[in-house]
Amino acid sequence: MAAKTESPPSSRGTNALRAAFVLLLVYGFLISIRLMGGAFKAMGSEAAQGLYEGISNPFAGLAVGILATVLVQSSSTSTSTIVSLVGQTGGTALPLKTAIPMIMGANIGTTITNTIVSMGHIRQGGAFRRAFAAATVHDFFNLILVAVMLPIEIATGFLEKTATTLSTSLAGDSSVKFANPVKDAVKAGSKPIITMLEGLGLEGGALSLVLIAVALGMMAVCLVQITKNMRALISGKLEQAMNRVLGRSGLLGILVGTILTISVQSSSITTSLLVPMCAAGILSLKNAFPIMLGANIGTTVTGLLASLATDKPGGLTIALVHTLFNLIGVLVIYPIPVLRNIPIRLARSLAIRAQRNPLWVGAYVLGVFVISPLIGYLLLRTTS
């Protein structure tokens, strides 16, 4: 038997420092959420509502959600921005109805990352076929989920009503500002930045633009660093979890995907680890699929975290919409083998075509993530 290897004290010290740094980054992330809210307040309610008006059509909102997430390559950034906008007080708040399709769009947009990762195997024949299928099974699941849930939501408002009921019971009535100590601490951190910018003579639209830039920059840096440091902190556990889940399917995979994604605050990290494992043939598509579904659920925690920094329960409501949407999707689709196999079959079929002709890859990526949403947005925005 090999002697048990213990972490050296220096490694434990580094980990403690890293954990403290992550907490600081979470605080920075929450400040960026407040700054984003401040930016829209500075813009004024008329200008903000004018912006939202253009995406009042649910399909335009969906398209914006996809495009914004593809652009920033992070659903955490796009959903947190949406949470910050919905969770504002006054006339600058993004209406919940408009935000719901945007959140669904962010769910689709985020899957482009692992599709890009799979393209690294493009010259490797069978390995590329397996990698591309693993990447696109996530896309197909999210596309099917939106295709089913968005019309139901438009017709019934089911997600909006359920999430509102839940957030009201958790944070109180939407007509009152809900107070929490985290929000107060975040406010104390964001106020000096806004005051400093105002001190530079910025106001109105100019202040709003600078604040949006600062908030987005800060959000991106904090999220990237949280992901990077958490990945380093839990890499051992990450490896153990992946080893444990190899060759198994179902609930354990969903659980592992959820926990890993909550830990690293990025579904792309979880799913991008699965793609090379599938390419190497050590993880089957059938077994990778539940882990990806878990990642879908786990990634919604970022929005819930962001809602801590917002003024109104609306922030929490839209974050809960995101969680419910993904949770319901997994609960409805995964347990029924016929439904579960649809995204798997579609992904396999596309991967076979992509292996034969790489033009399929370009057509698929551009078509789903760029051209379709862009055309949809332009058409529906002008007709709304």
Partner: protein, 220 residues
């Protein structure tokens, strides 16, 4: 000390991978001992066949699991662990081959009537020495003792030369069919060679894995 094993990033991963590898070595020695004992005693190979094949299956399963875990380790930790993954892949193959040679030796039991009493004695001696080398290799690998590794490689080379000398003697001086005896010695020599390959990883860099510090090594 050429301590490449430290390149495995996580202490728990190190433990898990090393434990699995040590199990492979230990199982290899167990299967080898069972095969050599039955050959040297002139007994019926069928009596240990199930045990040897079951052990070899366990070795193969461990090798596959080790490979999967190495791929996961590489994907999680990135390209910096690439060299250690190559070393472990190579070592896993060495450990796996020991199980295969145990089965080969057992297969030679079909020709046990062609082995004389003297041949049985030689096979027993060579087998016992190779078994000792296997045990020592596992221990040197576990302790990562570079000095002991260098000494071991000299001993292992001398043992392989002794096997060759024995084979030459059988071929050149014997007036009977000594194919089974030669193959026995040849397989035992290969087992010692794989033990040497494992130990070479303690004191040699990646490109010189399976070779000896003095330039000799795995000529087969």
């Amino acid at each position: 000390m050429f301590d490449w094993i430290q390149n495995l990033r996580d202490p728990e991963s190190q433990d898990r991978l090393m434990t699995r590898f040590q199990e492979m070595l230990s199982d290899g020695r167990h299967a080898f001992d069972a095969a050599v004992t039955i050959l040297a005693s002139g007994g019926d190979p069928a009596s240990v066949r199930e045990e040897v094949f079951k052990t070899d299956k366990r070795i193969n399963e461990n090798e596959q699991a080790l490979r999967r875990e190495l791929v996961v380790h590489g994907i999680v930790h990135g390209t910096s662990v690439f060299p250690v993954l190559l070393v472990m892949m190579s070592l896993a193959k060495d450990a796996e081959r020991i199980g295969d040679y145990a089965k080969n030796l057992l297969d030679l039991g079909r020709h046990r009537t062609s082995l004389s009493d003297d041949d049985h004695k030689v096979v027993a001696e060579l087998g016992q020495e190779a078994s000792r080398l296997l045990q020592e290799a596992a221990s040197i690998f576990r302790d990562k003792d570079e000095e002991a590794a260098r000494a071991f490689l000299e001993k292992e080379e001398a043992f392989r030369r002794a096997c060759e000398t024995r084979i030459d003697a059988w071929i050149e001086t014997s007036d009977r069919n000594c194919s089974a005896a030669c193959l026995c010695a040849r397989f035992i020599k290969r087992v010692a060679g794989h033990a040497g390959n494992v130990v070479s990883s303690v004191c040699m860099p990646l490109d010189k894995l399976d070779f000896h510090p003095n330039g000799g090594g795995d000529e087969d």
